[in-house]
Each structure stands twice: as structure tokens, then as C-alpha cells.
Symmetry: C2
Subunit: 201 residues, 2 copies
DNA sequence: TGCCGGCCATGACACCTGTCACGCCGAGGT
DNA sequence: ACCTCGGCGTGACAGGTGTCATGGCCGGCA
């Protein structure tokens, strides 16, 4: 029996995924959690073989939870399962030590298949996404540019961002300008959108 | 047996939901579709009693699909199931003739419960969300203001929006200004965000 | 009929933004 | 020691943006 941990913030899909996996004769869902902070404890407590982690979760991020899990619980493999096939997500998931990456658009059989393969020690990655990830490349943004874009997401003015980040207005505008240039955007809002789509935030 | 149709664009959660509902002895999933355009045909073909519709789907919107379904297939009740508990979604879903509204944060039992209740002719609505919906009220935006905000989502300049909507630059700015005022925002981007969160787009 | 509200447009004004040039500092690499 | 790169800051400038007043057009409503 493959012991699986399911982590997803939406209770409904979490339960549904668990129900679907539970239908397989060789798979047993031993734990379900709704936040990234509970992942490590639950995995250790229930001795999970495979952890299925969503990216967007309250508390700890799914990607950082993956890294923590790899460090804390040896022998527990990780599949990152996300709504958005952002190239950057894949890269960060692999860097965090994940063994698999599944998009929620994928057919259901692909997930159970991924669970089995990952449990067998293989890596499972959507080839289309892998190509995109390589094409898109790593994030060109510096840490500060990323911070500024993150803050800019909710639509405040430059002064708002400057106050929030304890920076000068001019500095913020410089970072924004450089981020706009690097993303190939023509507006701050467009830069935010593009960076988000690439998974650079 | 309650004959259920499941419509969701993400194949994985669609399959998972179907698997979960299929576990119930009195529920049978007779059809699964991944776009709003297939809903009406599938519901008629498989004589569904209850249709479970996601809001965001390719092709036809889940909410408009609900309206079409009510008009085309008598006796088929609708549950709208969405990731985001936007007040405006609830209002539009009810206006479209939906009998139930379930958020994906809700516990799994709530969904199967909703299916049974709706099939029995009852209405199922999250009370918290209903209160929010009443508090937030209907959209204060005019049709044009909504259009402009919709186009403004991808972060173009005023001139871009003007060209796309075949309007004058000044007119676009007027609509934006008025939308900013009505949403209580201080920036175009903030107005977009707020309107989105209220479900006014 | 008159009135009101939405839609479109113009023009003007103050302010915000995006860009550029320039400088200072500290960390890391050769 | 030198150079490079990222972070931080200033100042200035052109162009974009948000606001307001004003006006015309149309459809609905008392």
C-alpha cells in the first residue's frame, strides 16, 4: 500500500482527491491537511510515502513546504499539484526537491499514475511544461524588484509601496522601471501580470 | 438514484468530484464536461437531475450556462460551485436560476448534502456568503465602466483601452475615474482588484 | 412635456509615473 | 586592488493619469 498525504487549501477538492485516490486498491490516503504548516507534522505522524502538495495554501507555501518536508522527513517523496502551469513553479518545485509536478488540468489517471511512479522512485514531469520552463528560463528579476512587484499587486501608488518597503519614492520607481524593462511590459500593471504568469512572484 | 452532471474545466478536480459523489449510494454521475458550451447538450442527453457547474470555464461562463440550462432543460436543477466566494457571483447565480451555491472551501459532506437537498427541491446557500452578498449589494458600475475595467485587467494604457473599445481617450478616462470613485479605490489597478473581489466583473 | 441618468466627447489642470543620468555603498569574483 | 553587480538614493523631464466642468445625444419616466 502506498501511504499518501493530501494537502490542499480547498476542503472540497482535497476531499475529492482523497476519495479518488482511495478508489485505487494500492493507494491509501493516510492524512489530509489544509495548510502548508501542517504538512511536515502530518507526514511524520502518519509515515506518508508520498505527499501531494498544492502550491497556493494558507500559511506555508506549497513549494517551501516541499523543501521543509524533504529536509525533515527522509524517504517521503513530493508531488506538487497546482492549478496554474507557471514555468517558474516547476523550476522552484524541482529546486525544492519535488519528484513530480502535476497540473490540475491533467486527466485523473495521470495523477494516480504519478503517485505510483514517484513512489517507485521515478520523476514525473509534464513534458510540455518542462519545455516552457526551459524556454522561459529563470526569473530575471532581482529580489527587490520582486518585492516591489509583489506589493504592487494590490494597486497602490508609488508612495504606498515606498512606505510599505521603507524605501524612497525614487528608488521604488527605479525598481519598477527596471522590472518593467525586464518583463518586456509597458506598464507596471502589465509587468505584474507577466511576472505572475511566469511564476516569478 | 440522483443523476448528476459535473462541469469543471480542470479535469483532475472534475474527476475527483465525480469519484467522490459516486461513492454515495443514491448518487450517480452520468456526465462530465469541461466547458460551458457542452453543458446543455450533455444534460439533455443524459437526463441529468442536478448539474454541478463551476463558474470559470472555457467557452460559456458557468453562470450563463446555468441560465441556458434552466431555459432549455426543464426539471434540471443547478448548483453553482466555485473557488471564490464573490458576493456578486452568488447574486448572479441566483438570478440565473440556480438552486444552490457551494464554495470549494466547504467540507465535502456539504456538497453531497447540497446535491440531495437541491434534488428534493430545496435551495442551498451558504448563509455567511448570503449576508456578504446583501451587504455588498448589486454592482454600482454601469455597463461601460465594467467593460473598461475588464479591459484594464491586463494592464494596458488608456490609449490601448480606447482603441480596443472604439472610444475616445478622454471618455475612457472618465469611465475609469467614475469607476474608481464608485469602488472607493484610489487607483485604476485598485479599482480592478476591488471590482473583481466583489464579483462585479 | 420636462426631467433625469447613462453614454460620449472635449479641454484644461494638477499630479503621478516611467525613464534616464548620475552617484554612493557593500558583497563577491578575478 | 580592481571590477562588476545589486541595492539605494537624487534630480529632472516627457508623457500618462485622474479629476473636473461643460456640452450634446438618447431613452425612460413622471
Amino acid at each position: 500500500m502506498i501511504r499518501v498525504l493530501v494537502a490542499d487549501d480547498q476542503a472540497l477538492v482535497r476531499g475529492a482527491l482523497a476519495a479518488m485516490l482511495g478508489l485505487e486498491t494500492d493507494i491509501e490516503v493516510v492524512a489530509q491537511v489544509g495548510s502548508g504548516d501542517e504538512v511536515v507534522d502530518a507526514a511524520r505522524l502518519h509515515r506518508a510515502d508520498v505527499a501531494l502538495l498544492d502550491v497556493q495554501m494558507p500559511g506555508k507555501d506549497g513549494l517551501t513546504a516541499a523543501a521543509d518536508l524533504r529536509a525533515a522527513v527522509l524517504g517521503c517523496r513530493v508531488i506538487v499539484c497546482t492549478t496554474f502551469g507557471r514555468p517558474g513553479y516547476l523550476a522552484r518545485a524541482m529546486a525544492a526537491g519535488a519528484s513530480g509536478f502535476v497540473v490540475k488540468d491533467a486527466p485523473p489517471e495521470q495523477l494516480v499514475d504519478a503517485v505510483r511512479r514517484v513512489h517507485a522512485g521515478l520523476r514525473v514531469v509534464d513534458p510540455v511544461l518542462a519545455a516552457e520552463s526551459l524556454a522561459s528560463g529563470a526569473s530575471p528579476l532581482t529580489e527587490r524588484e520582486r518585492d516591489v512587484l509583489l506589493r504592487a499587486q494590490d494597486g497602490g501608488t508609488v508612495s504606498d509601496l515606498a512606505r510599505a518597503l521603507h524605501l524612497s519614492d525614487g528608488t521604488v520607481r527605479n525598481h519598477l522601471s527596471s522590472a518593467i524593462g525586464k518583463t518586456g511590459a509597458r506598464t507596471r500593471a502589465e509587468a505584474v501580470r507577466l511576472a505572475e504568469e511566469h511564476g516569478w512572484l
